[in-house]
Amino acid sequence: MLNSIPPQRFKAGDHVRVLDRPSIGHCRTPVYLRGRSGIIIGVAGRYLDPEKLAYHKPGMPAHLLYRIRFRQVNIWDTYTGTDADDLEADIFEYWLENATKENKK
């Protein structure tokens, strides 16, 4: 089925890693978070695909958008704040994979 909605892959509390791959054109996944791991704190909802909307396509199917919390010390090797400091960003499901021990940076 062309427009079937895929099942939700992640839930709150899951450790996930942002895929470290290049993107072509318009994309809402910041480069500084690619390859970084964080914890899902919630599902923001389903939203039209910005990577298609930007090129005047309908943006279907809509994708799940997750709210993800990253520890700053896991993002930056030279972070100068405190260990507790964190950062939240919203990342689409197709940019995420399960975090494993090996990739849990």
């Binding site: 100068t80 400091d85 919203d90």
Partner: protein, 213 residues
């Protein structure tokens, strides 16, 4: 200048006549086409410009003051901002979802859009120039404490800093900490203490000025 007399033609009045981008040319062409075909009028365009430019952070300050004064409202605002603002007559509209977060002694939220300039415009108006600058966008995620100090906000190490990067379809509004000594104040007086920057997280609410001094 009307009295001078020579044979060259003057360029039309413009702020930066040599810096018209291809997007400005595109915008002008589309706007003129829409007008020529009678789809929109010049009055429609100016009415929309007026609406857009009339939005400013006063609306946000009113919301924050109400949240400070009414704890039940604040709780509902955090849980369901669209409904609570709708009840106040504020239409969050077709834009992305709004999320409201609260600053405290334990947690200081600060908002950025590293990818462009996403901002809760329907509540705070147009973003300030620094919010759109590459310097703010690239630095506040990497060294938030240093950037906040440059804004005059020294966050102690005992307070966690949380950077909210508006990467996709959510927009963020910060409820700053209510200043001390404001217990007896009405909402209107409270709203005067709420600065635009305090609702982005790059500032604090203003302290009370002692009238007896």
């Amino acid at each position: 200048m009307s009295g001078h007399n020579h044979d060259h033609s003057h360029a039309p009045v413009s702020d930066m006549p040599t810096l018209i981008s291809k997007y400005e040319v595109l915008e002008t062409a589309i706007r003129e086409l829409l007008q020529e075909h009678g789809l929109i009028s010049a009055a429609d365009i100016h009415a929309q410009i007026d609406t857009t430019e009339s939005l400013n952070a006063e609306l946000g300050a009113k919301i924050i003051a109400k949240a400070w004064a009414d704890l039940a409202f604040k709780q509902h605002l955090v849980e369901n901002p669209r409904k609570m603002l709708g009840d106040m007559g504020i239409n969050v509209g077709s834009i992305a979802e709004l999320k409201v977060v609260e600053n405290s002694e334990e947690l200081h939220n600060v908002v950025v859009c590293t990818l462009c300039s996403c901002y809760p415009r329907m509540i705070l108006g147009a973003p300030p120039a620094w919010y759109k600058s590459t310097a703010y966008r690239s630095r506040v995620v990497r060294e938030p404490r240093k950037v906040l100090a440059e804004f005059g906000v020294d966050v102690p190490d005992s307070t966690k800093i949380r950077v909210l990067d508006s990467t996709a379809d959510l927009r963020f509004l910060v409820i700053p900490m209510r200043p001390d000594g404001t217990d007896g104040l009405q909402e209107e007086a409270l709203a005067k203490l709420v600065t635009r920057d305090s609702m982005i997280g790059t500032g604090l609410a203003q302290q009370m000025v002692k009238s007896s001094d």
